[in-house]
């Protein structure tokens, strides 16, 4: 049983998805989905523990040897990602049943959970697999279900947002497919480990160079790197609130994982950072992303839009960490990946609670909420502080390592710009705090009550995780350090 964990991780949610159809009552389906997601979380915990003690796990599908059969390969990086995805999914799903009552018609609830589980399975699959073509298939499984989930939003603009995401996402995925085809043509293999050994022989050819460019652009479309981010704000803003919380914490993270996997493991560090001027490109795009998106966030009237733009800015930080291309830089990126998942799922869940109580998330509707929904608003404030990077929250830990990495490399101006970028976060978080705490409640809003427990429990679990991992950093730092070192090939394999 234990030997089959890598495949169970993916297959459990995938097989569970169609089974939902047999359960007719929405509450039963919800419970079933929650149990499945919890099971996936449990599996990822065991996997991480196994990987940390005994190194990478290799699982051959159907017993076929690696270069011929498909291989699942769980190393420190993938185990870490699996844990983030399944943990966030489980916590978010806890609030799903209450939240979608008001946002999705009852007859579509079962479909909602099916799509949710499929999307989860796709993302877990991308991270678990060690086969380049398998990545594309799982990418499309998770993306197609994500498009449909976004289209379930009750505003008609959700449809338009989903359509735009579909076009952009498919272009991105097809670019990745072209890239994979080109490297297959040159090496005759699709296994990532095998590719990393055979690519150096043909590294000087134009075909490999083109393949690399296609894959990088495709992945960057998926991770919404500035200026390829245009699909993201509307998709996040009009999707059902639960889906926003789920996707914001996981979908872009998986794309960042792919970026790291392809540049470090498949193409190799020396190829990736010498053939294309990747370092300067990513520093510039990352920093402009931080500033452009943070500035845009300040002017948003819809709070979901605001945090969606802030997500683009946070992706900028991860890309800057990545571009440093040292162990510390990569560590900063991985830490921020984990921390940002915690912050954004907490924030968007809190917004889901606000949506449940008031039916909208326009900033003007937040007036006086500080007194009417004290616990929800406190969660938004702590999440916001974490976003800014205030000490004792997780946001501080990752920004600290990012600045450390940048300074280690002697990039002083970049460090200053990162700090300036955090100041912009202060501005947009302050706008919410000001409206919620210092403005009088709107007339006729006396009846607004605190969010129900089914929201407060998951929100505060995430908020406490935000503080806990900001103080006790042993787990996150140990795992990211080992993962970064193994990617650079210095640590234990």
């Amino acid at each position: 049983m234990l030997a089959h964990l890598p495949i169970l991780q993916v297959i459990v949610p995938m097989m569970a998805a169609p089974l939902c159809l047999f359960l007719t009552r929405p509450r039963l389906v919800w419970l079933f989905a929650l149990i499945v997601s919890g099971l996936a979380f449990l599996i990822s915990c065991i996997l991480l523990q196994q990987v940390m003690t005994s190194g990478a796990i290799i699982y051959e599908l159907g017993g076929w040897d690696a270069p011929w059969g498909i291989e699942y390969r769980i190393d420190q990086l993938s185990a870490f990602l699996l844990l983030i995805i399944s943990a966030v999914s489980t916590v978010v799903l806890f609030a799903a049943h209450t939240s979608i009552q008001k946002e999705i018609p009852v007859d579509r609830h079962t479909l909602f959970y099916i799509l949710y589980l499929l999307s989860l399975a796709g993302m877990l699959g991308i991270v678990a697999t060690g086969d380049a073509f398998n990545v594309f298939v799982f990418l499309e499984i998770s993306s197609l279900s994500a498009y449909a989930l976004i289209a379930l939003g009750k505003d008609r603009r959700a449809l338009w947002a989903a359509y735009q995401y579909l076009i952009m996402g498919t272009i991105g995925a097809t670019f990745i497919l072209i890239g994979i085809g080109l490297i297959y043509q040159m090496t005759g293999t699709l296994n990532m480990n095998d590719l990393s050994m055979r690519l150096p022989e043909v590294a000087h050819t134009r075909t490999v160079f083109t393949a690399f460019a296609f894959i990088i652009v495709g992945v960057c479309l998926k991770l919404a790197l500035f200026p390829l981010h245009l699909w993201l704000p509307n998709a996040y803003a009009y999707a059902p609130s639960i889906i926003t919380a789920f996707l914001a914490a996981t979908a872009t993270k998986v794309a960042i994982y792919l970026l790291i996997r392809f540049t470090f493991s498949v193409f190799g560090l020396s190829f990736s950072f010498t053939t294309l001027p990747l370092q300067i490109l990513f520093v510039v795009l990352g920093l402009s992303g931080i500033f452009a998106a943070s500035t845009a966030a300040i002017y948003q009237k819809n709070v979901k839009h605001l945090f969606a733009y802030s997500s683009i800015a946070q992706i900028g930080y991860m890309i800057v960490g990545f571009s440093v291309s040292t162990t510390t830089g990569l560590m900063a990126t991985l830490l921020h990946l984990f921390n940002h998942a915690l912050m954004k799922s907490a924030l968007f869940l809190a917004l889901a609670a606000v949506m449940y109580r008031i039916g909208g998330v326009q900033l003007s509707q937040f007036q006086g909420l500080g007194r009417q929904m004290p616990l929800t608003m406190a969660a938004i404030v702590i999440g916001g502080l974490s976003l800014i990077g205030v000490p004792l929250t997780v946001g501080f830990v990752s920004k600290w390592y990012l600045i450390l990495a940048v300074i280690e490399n002697g990039w002083w101006p970049v460090a200053v710009l990162i700090l300036l970028g955090s100041l912009l976060a202060v501005v947009y978080v302050w706008r919410i705090v000001e409206t919620a705490y210092f403005k009088p409640p709107l007339a006729g809003s006396e009846a607004i009550k605190e969010a129900p427990l089914s929201f407060l429990v998951p929100i505060w679990v995430l908020v406490i995780a935000n503080i806990y991992f900001g103080i006790d950093t042993r787990l996150s730092i140990q795992v990211t350090q080992v993962a970064a070192q193994s990617l650079f090939g210095v640590g234990p394999p």
């Binding site: 073509f133 594309f136 298939v137 499309e140 197609l144 498009y147 449909a148 289209a151 008609r156 603009r157 449809l159 338009w160 989903a162 359509y163 579909l166 076009i167 498919t170 272009i171 097809t174 497919l177 072209i178 085809g181 297959y184 043509q185």
Partner: protein, 117 residues
């Protein structure tokens, strides 16, 4: 040179045609048509690279020692399924958009959205 890479020229032309339609056209159905052409070019690309000079179809039989590579065919079978799913979902969204907005022209939809804000 020109004739030897005949398939690849087709691939490049189709790819650019499809990509251009996706970017340049405002009609949602035309965009999806463009997207399909774009994806199809990638299918042809995979199939072309599987061809081995002088090789036959990859079916085991006596007296034949040279086969074309069957793996890309299998891969593309999967990619075609994905492509169909994408097209179907895109068209379904277009239908829903038509119901909600009364139009499938990008400009008009944007205009109506701006009025809402």
């Amino acid at each position: 040179m020109l004739m030897g890479l005949y398939n690849y020229w087709i691939v490049v032309v189709l790819m650019m045609v499809g990509f251009y339609i996706v970017i340049a056209h405002g009609n949602l159905i035309k965009k999806i048509v463009g997207l399909s052409i774009f994806q199809t070019s990638v299918f042809i690309f995979y199939i072309s690279m599987a061809k081995v000079d002088g090789g036959t179809a990859p079916i085991l039989s006596d007296g034949i020692s040279k086969y074309s590579n069957p793996l890309p065919h299998v891969l593309i079978l999967t990619a075609i399924v994905v492509g169909i799913a994408t097209t179907a979902l895109g068209l379904a969204l277009a239908v829903r958009i038509k119901e909600a907005y009364g139009s499938i022209e990008e400009e008009e939809i944007q205009k109506k959205d701006n009025l809402d804000c």
